[in-house]
């Protein structure tokens, strides 16, 4: 009986602490953001002119001091500068980098190097992929070509930045 009461007390205490902790982190989450891409550049001004002050790693935390429509002024220790809002989110980057990683996990075969193409194939399973190859209503070769052409988030961000430079010029 005593044990039960202790157990209940501990449970309530734990729940209380968990709630308090949640509130604390919710408050912080409004200011802390995470770098989503590799080698994200930090600029002196909100614009892409000039060399970056520094580069941050994917998953790094920064404190947001100010925001504009497309830029955040951020701080990380002694470093202070501007980053495009595209590369920051208020949640850590997902562990799953791409469909390829997920597929590699699913396939669970360390010897088999998953390309972007085996990926989605792995989601269906190898047998399933073979079944599709025989289906005259499907063009798997074209599908693979399509998946080969997919670009990464990093490539797309670089592309947008180049566009922004064009406009500034």
């Amino acid at each position: 009986m005593n044990m039960k009461r202790w157990g209940l007390g501990l449970l309530l205490l734990w729940a209380g602490l968990a709630l308090a902790d949640d509130e604390g982190s919710a408050e912080q989450a409004a200011k802390l953001m995470y770098v989503q891409t590799h080698n994200a550049a930090v600029f002196e001004e909100p614009g892409l002119g000039g060399d970056p002050l520094s580069r941050l790693a994917q998953g790094d935390q920064v404190q947001v001091l100010e925001s504009t429509e497309r830029w955040y002024r951020v701080q990380q220790e002694d470093l202070e500068g501007w980053m495009p809002n595209l590369v920051l989110r208020d949640t850590p980057p997902s562990r799953r980098q791409s469909r390829a990683d997920e597929a590699a996990e699913l396939e669970a075969s360390p010897r088999r190097r998953a390309s972007a193409v085996t990926t989605a194939g792995a989601i269906r399973g190898v047998e399933e992929e073979e079944r599709l190859l025989d289906d005259p209503d499907l063009d798997i070769e074209q599908l693979r070509a399509l998946e080969e052409m997919g670009v990464s988030a990093d490539d797309a961000i670089q592309f947008l930045m180049a566009a922004e430079e064009d406009v500034e010029e």
Partner: protein
């Protein structure tokens, strides 16, 4: 069924008993009741399992969505080949991915393809497989228009319009799952499930069209997403307007089979642009870059 399952527990041999005792009561209960789930009105044991594993269920559902979308993409590609122009395809992928990063599902891997077709149209299969026809591309005048069209399709994926309309989800999350797992034959049942889903998606995309409200929502979200990406927010309506003015309006007719009338869409977009102050900037049309890539 319930009776026999309990009996199996009671009369198990010694090592069996041990295993049963090790199982958590919830798991044991769900194993017993799993085959009964389809006949229970609200499937309480299943609902509880879902509450425990919402993330896994969501991931399984997304995998199911991608699996269906991928097969739909292979079907579309069997009808219309990819335009053989790697530079163009890469360019369209860059614009599309940039837009998708500003949508509701930035982590999803999107694939964009220009397909050879004389119909002015674009298609979004579930899971992020998006197509725009060569005829649609020929009708566009700048990158903001391309971004607008792709953003409309990305919005269909982000808002899971087809997934919801057809209730596409992981077979293990459906009420039938317990039954098939219990009696075996899950593989066949799964294949049938996916094939039927793929058939229905193709019908929706090429014949029936989505619900009018879904199209309006995709217009709204698409315009906002293109603007957030930094494009001239009027790109999509300029394209739509040109499409509806096409003499002979053959292309417009083809589109109107599966979409609401252009006039009503344009009016709604005009109101949205005005209310949310999404006009311009005009320099963000990137016409020169678009012209470089268009065949």
């Amino acid at each position: 069924m319930k009776h026999s399952a309990i009996k199996a527990e009671d009369s198990g041999a010694e090592p069996g008993r041990r295993t049963w005792r090790c199982l958590s009561p919830l798991l044991a209960l769900s194993l017993i009741l799993m085959p009964l789930a389809p006949v229970l009105a609200e499937h309480p044991p299943r609902a509880r399992l879902h509450q425990i594993q919402p993330v896994e269920a969501a991931e399984a559902n997304e995998r199911a969505e991608i699996r269906v979308g991928r097969e739909v993409a292979a079907r579309i590609l069997a009808r219309h080949k990819l335009v053989d122009d790697p530079a163009l395809q890469r360019y369209v992928n860059l614009v599309g991915r940039a837009v998708a990063l500003h949508g509701d599902r930035p982590d999803l891997d999107f694939y964009f393809g220009v397909i050879d077709s004389e119909q002015v149209n674009a298609y979004a299969a579930p899971g992020g497989y998006i197509f725009v026809t060569s005829a649609a591309l020929a009708l566009m005048e700048d990158e903001a228009e391309l971004a607008g069209v792709l953003a409309h399709e990305v919005a269909h994926v982000d808002r899971r319009h087809i997934v919801e309309a057809l209730n596409i989800r992981a077979p293990e999350a459906s009420p039938m799952a317990g039954l098939t797992r219990f009696f075996g034959g899950a593989t066949e049942a799964t294949q049938v499930f996916f094939s039927q889903a793929v058939d229905r998606v193709v019908e929706l995309l090429f014949e029936d069209g989505l619900q009018r409200e879904d199209e309006f929502e995709a217009d709204r979200f698409g315009v906002r997403t293109a603007a957030r990406t930094g494009y001239d927010a009027e790109g999509f309506s300029r394209f739509l307007s040109r499409l509806s003015e096409l003499e002979g309006a053959r292309a417009a007719d083809e589109l109107s089979d599966t979409h609401p009338a252009a006039g009503e869409r344009l009016e709604r977009i005009r109101v949205l642009l005005q209310e949310e102050g999404l006009r311009g900037p005009e320099q963000n049309r990137f016409q020169a870059r678009f012209e470089q890539h268009r065949p």
